[in-house]
C-alpha cells in the first residue's frame, strides 16, 4: 500500500537505538539531577524567561543542553519507531496503526485530565514534561501489543 506519511522500514532499527539512548540518559537526568558541564553552552534563544525575570527575546543565552538532547533523542527515536513502515505495510496494518493512534490519544488525554484534577505544583510540571513523550510511548506500546496478538491469531493457519 502506498503511504507517503511513513518513514521507510530501515528507519525502525536506528529509531530503537535513539529511543533506547534517550531513555537511558533520561533516567540518568532524573535520578542524578545533574548535567555534564561541557554541555553548558551559549545558544540562540528566540524567547527565554527565567522564573521571576523579564522576558528576553532573540539573544544568546547560557544553558545546559543535556535536557534538550534527551528530549530530541526520545522524540526522534519515538517517531522513527512508531512511524516507520512495517516490512509489509498493507491495509490491515494501517487499520491497526490508526486504532492504536486513537487509543493512545485517548489514554494520553485521560492521563492529563486526571493529573489536572489530582496533581499540583511542580509534580504537575513533571507530568507535563513526561507528556511531551507519552503520546508516542502509548502508541508504540499499543501498536506492538496489537501486532503481537495478530501474530498469535496465526496459530489457526491451514
Amino acid at each position: 500500500m502506498r503511504t507517503n506519511y511513513l518513514f521507510p522500514n530501515r528507519f525502525k532499527l536506528p529509531g530503537w537505538f535513539l529511543l533506547g539512548l534517550g531513555i537511558v540518559l533520561g533516567f540518568v537526568y532524573i535520578f542524578f539531577q545533574e548535567s555534564p558541564g561541557f554541555l553548558n553552552q551559549k545558544v540562540f534563544a528566540m524567547v527565554d524567561q527565567e522564573f521571576l525575570h523579564p522576558v528576553i527575546l532573540f539573544q544568546m543565552v547560557q544553558t545546559n543542553l543535556f535536557g534538550d538532547i534527551i528530549a530530541i533523542l526520545l522524540i526522534s527515536g519515538g517517531l522513527f519507531v512508531a512511524f516507520s513502515k512495517e516490512k509489509i505495510e498493507d491495509e490491515y496494518i494501517s487499520k491497526i496503526r490508526l486504532e492504536s493512534l486513537v487509543w493512545a490519544t485517548y489514554i494520553n488525554y485521560f492521563v492529563i485530565i486526571f493529573s489536572i484534577i489530582f496533581i499540583y505544583g511542580t509534580a504537575f510540571l513533571w507530568i507535563l514534561i513526561f507528556n511531551m513523550f507519552t503520546l508516542l510511548f502509548f502508541f508504540i506500546i499499543r501498536f506492538y501489543w496489537l501486532k503481537k496478538s495478530v501474530k498469535k491469531m496465526m496459530r489457526n493457519e491451514e
Binding site: I88, D90, E91, Y92, I93, V150, M154, E157, E158
Partner: protein
C-alpha cells in the same frame, strides 16, 4: 461479511502465505480476513477474486448483521 476464502484456497492448494504474496499483503492480513476479523478493502477483494478467477460476490457475501 462472510467469505469462502479458506475453501477457495484449499481448492487451489494455496497456503495463506502464498496467497498473501500474490496480492501483496501480509500473511496476518489473509488470516484475519479468513477469521472474519477484518473487513478488507474493495481493491483487495478484487485482487483476491482475480487470483481465484472468480467474481468478488462468489467469495465474499453480506451477512444479516451487515
Amino acid at each position: 461479511m462472510k467469505n469462502s476464502l479458506k475453501v477457495e484456497r484449499a481448492k487451489k492448494n494455496l497456503t495463506q502465505a502464498q496467497l498473501a504474496l500474490l496480492v501483496h499483503v501480509s500473511r496476518q492480513t489473509i488470516n484475519a480476513i479468513e477469521l472474519g476479523k477484518y473487513n478488507l478493502s474493495t481493491v483487495l477483494a478484487l485482487k483476491i477474486a482475480r487470483v481465484f478467477g472468480k467474481t468478488v460476490n462468489e467469495i465474499f457475501e453480506l451477512e444479516e448483521k451487515d
